[in-house]
């Protein structure tokens, strides 16, 4: 390395004080076990899954025969996989859109602090903390064509009994409705926190400038909620693509929904991996699911990044120039 005589030589090792050193040791000691556990339960299995996807497997030997991309090629000719991909996409699309839209609406209604707000928040949040299995069983009863609560209520309006879980066109809708109900409370709480975090001065400033409630919501609140919106969209999309429990419960038994009508990717992975022991094939499906979710997350980040004008808006607000 050439040294310029006019410059002062900078020591390679920066001086670190004893206190700084102790702090760093403490930080490393705190982080390393967490990273190690995370690597053990998440990173290593994910990497192993990638490896398994290139093998043909048996019940005892997941890497019996290297087959390269054969599992992936077979996947895209597998009608059940393509059907589950279609169903999962429809499910994810509707659950994400409806759960986000309803959650924003509820959060907007609950933003105004009233005595009953905590009660409503608790009521809307209850489905989130209730385990999925009993919830799915209860919804299966609600959808029962003969004794179900939903058909009973519909009968008041002269509507004939509907086999909600019986027919393919209604089975997926029924599971979407139940899933939206289950997660809307979680999204609502996140939006509520975000909305309450918006300084009142911004909204007051907008009102002084003559903005209507509608304008305040769309021109002030929503742009400022953009990072939270992104977070909720990403989390809802990931969760929706991973749907399994409600599908499994609602298709089981003699009165279960027709399996293929609501077949989702994780259900297909489960069946291939744990029923037929085609672990290599199931691993390939999991890789495809991983790639889909990763791409969608990048797309969502990309869309959000392009239109992210919240920083500009904040700057404008500071100058009191909102229109």
């Amino acid at each position: 390395m050439k040294k310029n005589n006019n410059t002062i030589a900078v020591p390679l090792k920066r001086y670190i004080s004893q206190t700084e050193k102790k702090k760093r040791i403490f930080v490393y000691c705190s982080i390393i076990p967490v990273i190690a556990i995370f690597a053990f339960v998440r990173i290593i299995p994910i990497c192993t899954n990638f490896v398994y996807s290139l093998f043909e497997s048996t019940v005892v030997n997941p890497t019996q025969k290297f087959v390269g991309l054969k599992n992936f090629i077979e996947l895209f000719h597998d009608q059940l996989f393509l059907l589950s991909l279609r169903n999962t996409t429809i499910f994810a699309l509707f659950v994400t859109i409806f759960s986000v839209a309803i959650a924003i609406l509820l959060a907007a209604l609950l933003t105004t602090q009233s005595k009953l707000s905590p009660l409503y928040e608790t009521i809307y949040f209850l489905p989130v903390i209730t385990p999925m299995v009993p919830v799915a069983v209860v919804w299966k009863w609600i959808y029962d064509p003969t004794y179900g609560l939903l058909n009973y209520i519909l009968s008041w309006f002269g509507i004939s009994p509907i086999g909600w879980l019986v027919y393919p066109n209604t089975a997926l809708i029924a599971i979407i409705i139940m899933s939206v109900w289950k997660i809307v409370g979680y999204n609502m709480i996140i939006f509520l926190v975000g909305m309450r975090d918006i300084p009142e001065t911004y909204i007051e400033a907008a009102r002084i400038d003559g903005a209507s409630s509608n304008q305040v919501f769309w021109k002030v609140i929503m742009p400022l909620l953009r990072p939270i919106l992104l977070f909720v969209f990403v989390i809802s999309t990931i969760n929706s693509f991973n749907v399994f429990t409600q599908v499994f419960i609602m298709t089981s038994g003699a009165q279960g929904a027709p399996g293929n009508a609501v077949r989702t990717i994780v259900f297909d992975i489960y069946e291939n991996g744990f029923r037929y022991f085609r672990t290599g094939y199931a691993a390939a499906e999991a890789v495809v699911l991983f790639v889909i979710i990763l791409l969608l997350t990048f797309i969502q980040f990309g869309i959000s990044g392009k239109g992210d004008s919240s920083k500009k808006k904040r700057a404008i607000f500071r100058k009191g120039a909102v229109k």
Partner: protein, 440 residues
Amino acid sequence: MKIMRKLFLVALVLLVALQMGFAKGSSESASESKPQTITLWSGYPEMEPFYKQAAEKFKETHPNVTIEIVSHPLREFEQKLSATIPSNTVADIIEVSVYANQKFIEAGLIPEDEGEVLDFVKADGRFSDFAIANDSYNGKIYGVPLFQGRTALYYNTDMFAEAGITEPPTTFEEMYEDAKKLAKYDSAGNLTRSGHSLRLSGQGSGVAEKFWFVLYPMGGTFIEEGKTAGTYHAAYNNDAGRKALTYYIDAVYKDHWDDQKIKHDAESFELGQTAMFFRESWVIGDIASKAPNLNYATAPVPKDARWGRITNIENLYVTKASKNPDLAWEFVLSLLSEENQRWMFENVGWLPCRNDIDISDIIERHPQFAAFTYTDPDYDEYGYLPIAAFDEVITKLAERLVTAFLDSSLEGNDAAIAKTISDAANETNEILKRYNLYGE
């Protein structure tokens, strides 16, 4: 000095020998009195009382042994086995059918029967040839047959009398006509009582298994052996397969004596929402507890081109994970005792596999059992083939059947029915090819 040295050596040898003998004796007595636990997993929750009472009896002669029984719904249980058998964390004893266990047997994860257990299973007249064949793989026997699920026709005697039907159907044609007479509808044309409850929906292999009840008498089956031993191919892409599917489609759409909206299976029968259905003998115990006032009887499965009923054997296996297999086998054999087998039959309703036990007095007390023990030289027994591919074959067929049953355009459309059956059979053959089991 030499004598002293010899005496010392002899004394030393004696001392060591005594020590060893003492140690052995004490370890034996310790193992006899040391608390021991044997775990048993079952896929039939209704069997739990049976195992519990047998465990209490076993404890009388083995006070240091605790038997822990865990039961799960069948599908969840099969998944649990999938995770625990390969990882050697399964229970000492598992109660499972061959179709679910075959993949583990073929993978060498289940020990074969030996010694006293093998003698017990092979004893003359104890088990049927069908049961022994079911439990055999590559000339070796695995597990001990505990109970069998034979199918018969349950029918509601009050509903039959109300419809003026005096006898249970003996042919599928009669059964179809009876079902038409027995079905009931509300003013809007909704079915309020099915004539015969078929299995039309739900995940897993159940739909296909129930389809088999119709397919077999009509002359078909799922897979049959090819020309080369050990190879198989689909055996329902024929008149029997098409006739069986037509039977279902006509029942749902043409004559509408069953549909997907009404309740099905045992629950439907107990609620009075169906007049007939096919099921195993455990339903007798279920009805006794859930619908004790229900008036019903049972009959052998009706005939068509041939006559037969499905028989599924449920076995007990001691696993490789067992730390005390001898004790586990001892408990298994105690479950197979005459006393315990009779208790199981009378209280749970599952039919014992043992042929050398007299159960006539129980049948006299509960005449509904008679159809399950009924025998006739022409009345065939068929069941799950002991090959690992079988579960995938029937599960995938079940998925196709559920879709077909929802397709009203199949009614009266022979070409579409033939295509549905042909596509399903092609898939069956593809699965067999993947397992290297396909043969013309």
